[in-house]
Structure formats: structure tokens, C-alpha cells
């Protein structure tokens, strides 16, 4: 028998098998007969080669480190490129966050990530009364270069991969100034930032500056993880992200760069959600879609440009206040999908994240989760261990097809920048739909809409821990952080050379007005003590607008 006869015979057998299954399922109540993934793909009870009949190993998968990179970007997977254990950190002042970083590193975390506080987006410094209550909350207060010096005190930025969660050139400028203090040449400086692709001068200045001067720094970012948290599906996570990357690419080509100058410095921030196999398939489909789109439509030639690298943070909307220790189990399973999907870097949410920000205790459990997966379970031994599963290959194809379709829909609406509002509406519609499914009980969440406990013994256990005097069981925000930070900003403002600050500020504003890249004069200005709030005000003046980008809030409006 030749190959197609074998396939025909298989299809016949499968049809008989599926008839039998259908008869069995018809005995079940109607609601229990059909299953769907959260993306809405119907799921059968079994998959065989007949579900991926025209599957071609070389074209669809090939080998890790080879086009289309479906199976992974590095040939030997985690054996040569170990997982970056990178827990997002940030609370209080730079001192508290530095201390937490050292704690995590001393327990085996091997990469760092820092999130700024909720005050930092408001075009104000921590000593401004407008941000009262927000200083050192939700992240770390970082007002001046002095704060960055404290944050990185004793941390070797040549050794550890550092991620700055900021879209702001201010954070980059401080990082560059810090590298200069330590004698690290821009050409050697590594790291990354959340400069997510958007049509504003600041974003593009950062990308252009780094492409030309800081070639190892990952200056571009696709934050689809938070978009997914916002409610979108796995296919939208891929499709919207690729479409936004294409728009950013177009904007940089217009600035005279070549696609291979910057594409390999765009990294992804991606989610790992509850639907295990769909998530594994998502990472694989994303790598394939990325490689094909940028090779075929943009002519990227450098293999590094086509290798889609990802930092992943596990899904949080399903973390519950009820029975909080269940969150350990959820996040572990989500992390397994991320590792089996071949992500480069991972944050595992802590069990208490539906209650507060993590403590040392809960953050350490997140590090241990990753270490146990790596050292005890064997899932990092083999590259793409689920490759070849008929179900996973079928899912990968479905997601690839759907994601490419979404890319086309975005292109029809003017591309990833222009269609952003449309994407936001789609994301919110998906969130509303998902919430309705939970409210109806169609989607289950243990402890919330099923298996609810009158007496929540896990909560009781947490309360016992909370009462322990020498143990911080749940993080509590303290206004002492703000008092301390205000003293830190005041110290910088008191000790700096005001005339030099004014000159540096003028130089910066001049560059921005004349359309020169803002990064070089900003680096000089932060060295003189210019604060983040002052930088934000320069931006507001020069661009004669309240600001640009997603981190400046639109004025209040009535929901249309």
C-alpha cells in the first residue's frame, strides 16, 4: 500500500471509531457532549494522523534552531540554554526591592525583572502630593538615577539578565548611565525592557538608538501577556502580537533601518494559561507564524530575526482568593505548559497573588516550582517533548491558521497601530464572554463556582501563618515606603547642581523639538539628577500633549 492508501484506510477506521464514540456520547446529557478550548476550538475525544493528513515533518516542524522554528529556537533546548527563572519584583523603595532580588538570587533565581510603582505613570515625582498613596505601591519607586544605583547595588548586570518593566526612555537612560559607571561598553550591555511597540517617538527612539548603539539589548517588546490577561484568546495573543510587531517594523524601516538591524531584538512577553495543550500549541504556532511572516513578507535573512524568543508569566485571572493554596497547583501546571512549549524565561505566579503582592515565602515557592520542574520531572531533558502528538500538532495548525487570519483582519483595518482600538474592543468582548461562561458555570473554577467550601481550611491555614510574629505571611503596603522615598528624592534635588540640570534639560528639550533621538541627551540629564517626573514634563511640553502611549491615560469619557 502506498502512503495515500494507508491514509484512506485510516480515515475509514477513524470514521467507524468516531461513529461509535458519537453513539456513546449521545447517552450523556446534552451539555456534556461537546467540548471546546477557551479559544473556541471544538475538541474531539481522540486525534490520529487522519486529523493532520497533509502534515509534512520538514515543512511544518523541521528541527529546533531551524526554520520554521516550530520545535524551538535553540538546537539543544534547555540543555545549553537553561530556563531563566525570572520573578517580577518591585515594592517599596529601591532598597526593599534590591533586598528581595538578592534573596531570590541566593535561592537560585538566575534572571531579574523590576516593575515600577503605580505612581510612576502620573508625570510626577514621589514627592508630588498627586501621587500620595501610590508611592512604592504595585512596584518600586524609581525617581532618579540614585534609585537605580541602589536597586542594582551588588548586582552584576554582566552576569544576570535584567528586564526593566517600563516603556519609558527614562528607565533605559538610567540603565545606560549605570552601565557607564561600571565600565560596561554599550556594545556589551545586555538586558531588555518592556518598550512595547507603539507609534510614538519615545518608543521608536529607544528602538533606533539601541539598534545602532546597544546591539545586545532587547529594546523592543510585545506585551501580549497582559493583553491575554485582559481577556483575549490564545490565537488572538499570537495574531495581535504579530500584527503589532509588523506595524513597528514598518515604522523602523521608515527611519532607514534594515529589518535585520532590529528584529532580533524584539522579544515577547507571553502568557501560559489553564488549557494545557492549547497553550503548548500556542508557543509552537507563534514561533512558526513569526518566522514565516518575517521571512516571507519582510525579507528578514538573519536567522536570529526569525527566532521568536519569549518570556512567559503564568496566567493570573484564574488565581483565587478562595482556597488560596490551590493557586500553587494551578501555576505549576501552567508553568509546565510554558516549559513544554519551550519558553526562554519564566515567572510563576505566587499563590497569594489574588490577595496581595508576593512575600519572600511565596516568591521562593515560585522559584522552587521552576527548580522542581527543571531538576526533578525531566521535562527539560528533551526539546519540544509534545511534538508529534496528533492532538498538539492539530492544535498548532489550527492556532497558526487562526492567528494568520487575525493578522489579515488587522491589516485590513490599517495595521497593528491603527487597528489598536479595534483589537481592544475584541479583547474586551472576549473577556465579557469568558466572564459570562464563569457566571453560568459553563467554565469551572474550583472554590469559586464549583467545590466551594463553607469552611475554607486553606484560608484558615493562611490566617494561622499570618499570626506568626516572625513571619510575613501576606504582604502589606506601608506608607513608610513613601516617606522614605520622599526623603530620597529630596536628597537628590538638594544635592544636584541646578544649573547643570537646567542646561541638560534644555539640551534634551531641544533634541526632542528638532526630532533628534532623545536617548543621548536624556542619559546626560539623568546623570545630572533630572528626575522621572521632570522628564515626563519635558515630554508633555515638547509634544504639547498630555503624553503619548498606553501609559498615559486617556481623558475620562463615557463608554460608547
Amino acid at each position: 500500500m502506498n502512503k495515500s492508501q494507508v491514509m484512506e484506510e485510516l480515515k475509514e477506521i477513524q470514521a467507524r471509531y468516531e461513529d461509535e464514540v458519537t453513539r456513546l456520547l449521545q447517552k450523556l446529557p446534552e451539555g456534556d457532549r461537546e467540548y471546546f478550548t477557551p479559544s473556541g476550538l471544538p475538541v474531539k475525544p481522540l486525534y490520529s494522523p487522519a486529523d493532520v493528513p497533509d502534515f509534512e515533518y520538514t515543512a511544518d516542524l523541521s528541527f529546533p534552531g531551524r526554520f520554521p522554528y516550530t520545535r524551538g529556537v535553540f538546537p539543544a533546548g534547555y540543555r545549553t540554554r537553561g530556563l531563566h527563572i525570572r520573578q517580577v519584583t518591585g515594592f517599596g523603595t529601591a532598597e526593599e526591592t534590591n533586598k528581595r532580588w538578592r534573596f531570590l538570587l541566593s535561592h537560585g533565581a538566575n534572571a531579574l525583572s523590576v516593575v515600577p510603582d503605580d505612581g510612576s505613570g502620573h508625570r510626577a515625582d514621589s514627592d508630588d502630593p498627586r501621587v500620595r498613596g501610590l508611592v512604592g505601591k504595585g512596584g518600586v519607586a524609581l525617581d532618579t538615577l540614585y534609585d537605580y544605583e541602589t536597586l542594582f547595588d551588588g548586582i552584576d548586570i554582566r552576569k544576570y539578565s535584567v528586564h526593566l518593566i517600563t516603556t519609558n526612555a527614562y528607565g533605559l537612560a538610567c540603565y545606560l548611565a549605570l552601565a557607564e559607571q561600571r565600565g560596561i561598553a554599550p556594545s556589551e550591555l545586555r538586558g531588555s525592557m518592556s518598550n512595547w511597540m507603539r507609534p510614538d517617538t519615545e518608543c521608536l527612539d529607544i528602538l533606533e538608538y539601541c539598534a545602532r548603539n546597544v546591539p545586545l539589548f532587547n529594546a523592543g517588546y510585545l506585551d501580549m501577556r497582559n493583553v491575554r490577561e485582559g481577556g483575549c484568546t490564545a490565537a488572538q495573543e499570537i495574531g495581535f502580537g504579530v500584527a503589532v510587531a509588523m506595524a513597528g517594523c514598518d515604522a523602523l524601516l521608515e527611519r532607514g533601518l534594515e529589518v535585520d538591524d532590529f528584529l532580533h531584538r524584539l522579544t515577547w512577553f507571553i502568557n501560559a494559561g489553564p488549557e494545557f495543550f492549547e497553550e503548548v500549541a500556542k508557543f509552537r504556532a507563534l514561533r512558526k507564524v513569526w518566522a514565516s511572516v518575517f521571512r516571507d513578507r519582510y525579507g528578514a535573512k538573519d536567522p536570529r530575526s526569525l527566532m521568536c524568543r519569549m518570556h512567559c508569566q503564568t496566567y493570573a485571572p484564574t488565581l483565587t482568593i478562595q482556597q488560596p493554596f490551590n493557586n500553587l497547583i494551578r501555576s505549576t501546571v501552567y508553568a509546565m505548559a510554558a516549559v513544554m512549549g519551550g519558553v526562554q524565561s519564566l515567572h510563576v505566579n505566587s499563590f497569594d497573588e489574588a490577595l496581595s503582592i508576593p512575600t519572600e515565602f511565596s516568591a521562593l515557592l515560585s522559584v522552587r516550582t521552576q527548580q522542581i520542574l527543571d531538576l526533578e520531572t525531566g521535562i527539560t531533558k528533551v526539546v519540544d517533548p509534545l511534538g508529534g502528538s496528533y492532538y498538539v500538532e492539530w492544535l498548532t495548525r489550527e492556532l497558526e491558521r487562526e492567528a494568520l487570519d487575525i493578522v489579515e483582519q488587522v491589516q485590513k483595518r490599517g495595521g497593528g497601530f491603527k487597528a489598536w482600538d479595534w483589537m481592544c474592543r475584541e479583547i474586551r468582548a472576549a473577556a465579557v464572554k469568558a466572564q459570562a461562561a464563569f457566571d453560568r458555570g459553563d467554565r469551572k473554577l474550583v472554590g469559586v463556582n464549583t467545590l466551594v467550601e463553607e469552611e475554607d481550611i486553606q484560608m484558615k491555614a493562611l490566617r494561622v501563618l499570618e499570626k506568626h510574629a516572625e513571619f510575613e505571611a501576606l504582604f502589606e503596603y506601608s506608607t513608610e515606603f513613601a516617606e522614605k522615598q520622599i526623603r530620597r528624592v529630596e536628597k537628590v534635588k538638594r544635592e544636584r547642581d541646578e544649573e547643570a540640570v537646567v542646561r541638560a534639560r534644555e539640551e534634551l528639550a531641544g533634541a526632542m523639538r528638532e526630532g533628534r533621538n532623545m536617548v543621548p541627551p536624556l542619559v546626560e540629564a539623568v546623570k545630572q539628577g533630572l528626575t522621572r517626573g521632570e522628564f515626563a514634563r519635558v515630554k508633555a511640553e515638547v509634544y504639547n500633549s498630555p503624553g503619548e502611549g498606553p501609559y498615559v491615560c486617556a481623558p475620562p469619557a463615557v463608554l460608547a
Binding site: P129, L134, K137, G138, I321, R428, Q435, P556, L559
Partner: protein, 144 residues
């Protein structure tokens, strides 16, 4: 004369990243017949400003990261200063159990936790809004 305008609710939030609940609730309130003023990411000072300008019946404040007992006193202080202390405030987001009591004592009218059913949220907010409309029109009637 009963006020026939639609109930108006201001929704604000305290941080940049987490916004799923904010949008889901905005959509649910709109479907339930409210006019929803989207404040977006606002400081307590901004919230009071918008609440007064938009003449809302309720303020819904979404707070993350265990700081409600810090932010609410600031909000109420600002309302005392600038007016609007009579606008009812409800809070959603991450509110630790023991802080819920503190918030209610401060004068927060209701607290919603993750996965509160949407219909329940909209109904509870509607009752609070209607109550305020009534007490407002009563006090208007008493004016000479």
C-alpha cells in the same frame, strides 16, 4: 420631581496593567442601563475632580496590591476638601478580608471581590445609586 436621567457611574483604577475587571464591569453596567464614565487610571485627586465634573451617582474604584486602606482615606479627604463627600464610593479588586471591615468603617458603601457575579454587582450598585438620587432630590425639595 424624580430625576429621570440615567444613573451615572465613574469607574477608575489605580494601576496600569490590570484592567480586565474594569472593562468587564464597565460593559456589564452599560448593559444594565448605566451611563459609565471611564476615568481610567486615576489618582484620588483626579477621581474627585472627574466625579464632580461628571456629576456621577456612584464612584467605583478598582484597587490592586493591598493598598485600599491607604488610598481610600486620601480619596475621602480630597472629597471633604473639594466637595462630593456625599457621592457613594464602592471598591473592587484586591481587598484583603480584614481590610474590608476597615473600608466599610471609613464609609465605603460596598466591596466587590474577584468573581462576584456581574448581575449581583450591577444590582448592588443600582440600589446605592438610586438611594443617593432619592436623598439628593429630598434635600433639593427642602431647599426654599
Amino acid at each position: 420631581m424624580p430625576d429621570e436621567r440615567k444613573m451615572r457611574v465613574l469607574l477608575s483604577r489605580d494601576d496600569w496593567y490590570h484592567q480586565r475587571g474594569y472593562w468587564v464591569i464597565a460593559s456589564a453596567l452599560k448593559d444594565a442601563g448605566f451611563e459609565v464614565v471611564l476615568g481610567g487610571i486615576q489618582t484620588p485627586v483626579d477621581i474627585v475632580q472627574t466625579a464632580l465634573e461628571e456629576d456621577v451617582d456612584v464612584v467605583g474604584y478598582r484597587i490592586m496590591d493591598g493598598a485600599p486602606k491607604v488610598l481610600l482615606p486620601i480619596l475621602f479627604e480630597e472629597m471633604e476638601k473639594r466637595g462630593g463627600r456625599d457621592i457613594p464610593v464602592v471598591v473592587g479588586g484586591i481587598v484583603p478580608e480584614k481590610e474590608e471591615t476597615v473600608l466599610r468603617e471609613l464609609g465605603v458603601r460596598d466591596v466587590f471581590h474577584p468573581y462576584s457575579p456581574l448581575q449581583e454587582i450591577t444590582e448592588r450598585i443600582r440600589r446605592i445609586a438610586m438611594e443617593r438620587r432619592r436623598s439628593r432630590s429630598d434635600s433639593e425639595d427642602e431647599k426654599p
